[in-house]
């Protein structure tokens, strides 16, 4: 041991790649969870197909966004589970691995594993959604935005729980409220007019509204587009920033 150690702080995001790989290996064993991750979306698509097939383009786009949202919510469960049950925070955070590397590595690992079924929905949607390169690019950007928002909020919320069982209820609340009740699977035009501004500022339904507008399923004013896009951009940026700061802060208990 040298008498003077070359002490140097960790680089920002250190450990992200390796923890992503770790999480990927872990999640890859959860093949049943992967397979069942599309059940809700699949059932809702069947309902729409039976009730009004003309809404399928909107619902397929909604299913992709909903999947990205629930994938982010898996971060809530995983982060809390690893912290509470495995004490993984103690092992990984009292090390050169940065808290933000741990959080984003976990989130990206989950994304990498669960993106497969989403791509399958995306492929199926080719039959009904009138994609253009611009719409495809918009879908990718909006889906990733929804995922980032959801993963970031998931990580932040995960730090408040001391018992895994309490999380299930909240997790279910989040994705049912923001992903099912609000107009993600169905057009914004069917949502009560007075409540539409709320839908336009909530990330999943804002992203859905922008996509619905892009394929001509609904008509949005310039102001509504600006509101939805602006809110989404600001919220995603802020919550991601907050999650990184929160991860650093909560790497140490007060």
């Amino acid at each position: 041991m040298p008498s003077e150690l070359p002490l140097a702080p960790s680089r920002a995001f250190r450990g992200l790649g390796a923890f992503l790989w770790t999480e990927l290996l872990v999640q890859a064993h959860e093949w049943l969870a992967m397979a069942t991750s599309m059940v809700v979306q699949g059932v809702l698509l069947v309902f729409v197909w039976i009730l009004d097939p003309s809404l399928l383009p909107v619902s397929f786009l909604g299913a992709i966004l909903f999947s990205m949202f629930t994938m982010g919510q898996r971060v809530l469960n995983e982060a809390a589970y690893l912290r509470i049950d495995h004490k993984a925070n103690d092992l990984y955070l009292a090390s050169p691995i940065t808290p933000e590397g741990y959080f984003l590595g976990m989130a990206l690992g989950i994304l990498t594993v669960y993106v497969g079924p989403v791509l399958a929905i995306g492929l199926l949607s080719l039959w009904v959604v009138p994609y253009t390169p611009a719409i495809g690019a918009l879908l990718v950007v909006l889906a990733l935005s929804v995922w980032l928002f959801s993963a970031s909020t998931g990580y932040i919320f995960s730090t408040f729980f001391r018992d895994n069982r309490a999380i299930w209820a909240y997790s279910s609340l989040f994705f049912n409220l923001f992903g099912v009740l609000f107009p993600v699977f169905y057009p914004l035009s069917l949502f009560p007019a007075d409540l539409r501004p709320i839908a336009l500022v909530l990330p999943p339904s804002a992203a859905a509204a922008l996509l619905q507008s892009s394929i001509g399923a609904i008509s949005l004013s310039e102001g509504q587009i600006a509101l939805a896009a602006g809110a989404l951009a600001v919220e995603v940026t802020l919550i991601l920033f907050a999650a990184v700061l929160w991860a650093r802060r909560t790497s140490r208990e007060a």
Binding site: S10, A18, T22, H86, A88, L91, S95, P96, E253
Partner: protein
């Protein structure tokens, strides 16, 4: 700048929670761990060992006092301390859906070790912990002891300059515990420093160069195991039992502890014969053995280490 691996001065920790009175877990703990040493914090459950370790390993903020690792203030610059520490957390578990080999390797990679180094250290740690036969089985299928060995393997493979081990051999069988002890000794030979908490007296005695006995958030005494045992006042313990037992007759021989049915007397070898003559006269059964750390702990703390 201190050259100590770890140094703390008057470290305090008070846990505040709504609707409950504050709990003072540490009440001014001052200690030092020299580079290359193996030091144990020995204490009962709730003594404050884990709280100290969590503060030292940057996971918990102290209420007051100072703590430094390799001269860096742990509270002010945890980011500068973290590259040089590794922790086996209490009740930590490996990822259930990783094999021990994957667990160790991915952890080393996440810490920034090169592939080849990580691979070599993984194999070495797996071997040291006797995990070869289960190295490619998912952790979910392993026994509690094997999981704990996987956790220890994960951390010793880092060869970090300062290792914290919170009850490292809990749940292990005696053979596995010895493997862990051997590996930890080997690590300090390579230059690492070790701070472990334990409530196993044999572990503290066999493994540590020095130990601190902690009770109620305070360090009551510290020294080598031999020094602590000598402080008891004798080198032999005699346990006496029988209906004719009169405690007062033995109090002049040395420190006495009575648990109702039996009396333990700490005695110098020179007075052993005299004591045994009384025991024979009273028709008592007597067991004679060397003083252990258990007597030292009992003497210092006033209660057995297993007492709740």
């Amino acid at each position: 700048m201190t050259g100590e691996a770890l140094w703390s001065d008057q470290l305090r920790k008070v846990y505040e929670s709504r609707g409950a009175p504050p709990v003072e877990a540490l009440r001014g703990v001052s200690l030092e761990v020299h580079r290359g040493e193996r030091v144990a914090l020995l204490g009962r459950n709730g003594a404050g060992k884990t709280t100290f370790l969590k503060i030292a390993s940057t996971l918990l903020r102290p209420s007051s006092g100072r703590i430094e690792i390799f001269g860096e203030d742990v509270d002010l610059r945890p980011d500068r301390v973290r590259p040089y520490i590794a922790v086996v957390p209490q009740e930590g578990k490996p990822f259930f859906h990783l094999t021990p080999r994957e667990q160790v390797y991915t952890y080393l990679r996440a810490r920034g070790l090169a592939r080849e180094t990580a691979r070599a250290r993984t194999e070495s740690a797996i071997e040291q912990m006797g995990l070869e036969s289960v190295a490619d089985r998912l952790a979910i299928t392993l026994s509690g002891g094997q999981r704990q060995r996987t956790m220890v393997a994960t951390v010793i493979a880092t060869e970090a300059p300062l290792l914290f081990l919170d009850e490292p051999s809990i749940g292990m069988d005696p053979f596995a515990r010895r493997d862990v002890w051997d590996s930890l000794r080997e690590l300090t030979r390579k230059g690492s420093t070790l701070l472990l908490t334990t409530h196993y007296l044999d572990e503290a005695e066999v493994l540590s160069d020095r130990l601190y006995i902690v009770e109620g958030g305070r360090v009551l005494v510290h020294g080598t195991a031999e020094e602590l045992k000598r402080s008891v006042g004798g080198t032999l313990k005699v346990t006496l039992q029988g209906p004719g037992l009169v405690v007062e007759e033995f109090q002049g021989f040395g420190h006495c502890v009575s648990d109702g049915s039996a009396l333990t007397v700490i005695v110098d070898p020179q007075r052993l014969a005299e004591l045994l003559q009384i025991a024979v006269r009273r028709q008592l059964t007597a067991g004679v053995g060397p003083v252990t750390l258990e007597e030292a702990f009992l003497r210092v703390v006033g209660r057995s280490i297993n007492a709740e």
